[in-house]
Subunit: 152 residues, 2 copies
Amino acid sequence: MEIENRIERIKKQLHQQSYKLTPQREATVRVLLENEEDHLSAEDVYLLVKEKAPEIGLATVYRTLELLTELKVVDKINFGDGVSRFDLRKEGAAHFHHHLVCIECGKVEEIEDDLLEDVEKIVERDFTFKIMDHRLTFHGICRNCQQLKKGE
Amino acid sequence: MEIENRIERIKKQLHQQSYKLTPQREATVRVLLENEEDHLSAEDVYLLVKEKAPEIGLATVYRTLELLTELKVVDKINFGDGVSRFDLRKEGAAHFHHHLVCIECGKVEEIEDDLLEDVEKIVERDFTFKIMDHRLTFHGICRNCQQLKKGE
DNA sequence: TTGGTTGCAAACAGTTTGCAACGGT
DNA sequence: ACCGTTGCAAACTGTTTGCAACCAA
């Protein structure tokens, strides 16, 4: 099963830096894996983890998410409301994926395609800037809301 | 003088929506104009405004910045620390400009060029997503820090 | 006199931290 | 016994809100 594999790999990653995959941490990772497309906030993760491990504390979830961010297992993102969201990094993905945020319904869609190769070349050349990562978000109206507006 | 012109224009924009350019608001706008390249946080703005108008309250600054954001005079941005920063929109700029954030020294550089035209066409076509605005940030190492690293 | 605006303080939301207790090695 | 980890509560930070006072039209 895919999930078990990924947990095993994360476990090894933790061990390499002499951290442990405690039950609380495992439960947290499991929630992230099971809701991979969902852009959960720390609070969201907390509530979901609580269903399986009711004794867990919010602080532990925060600490785990911070740890996972350091290990680059997840990315901490921020769509402008004051809330951090956490996104699993795809295996071997060199770059952060992009997001489409609908300003009508708030839905967030992900784009895996690397659209920025050309743009990055230009930036690196013209600004002598060594790019390590990027964040690209489009704000607009999603397919669904476009349909709804037509019917108005 | 350039600044006076821009204030005059913002004043008109406010009046059109029956808001007033009060002394506090003017002082706030002035600070933004005088620190145009600086990506100030609300707190930053507050401290700078206080030098000229010591009686102003933090809440007023927040309310003014919110108002200016609504009017699209400024853009509210967010580089991942928990702080909102405010950036004057260039006159007539259809799109938000881009940023280069240096992960060594924290400096933020701006790019005015619209690099995303082609990418946007692809996204609008492939995802049926009507793009209204975008945010693009590159994280990496700036010219300066690259030099410093060479010398190590 | 009305309605937008202000300053202050209190409230709030998300996040972090201090600390004593816990648990595996 | 040690040391990383946990849960809890308190602290903190950035932001928002309620409200009485204010001020220009």
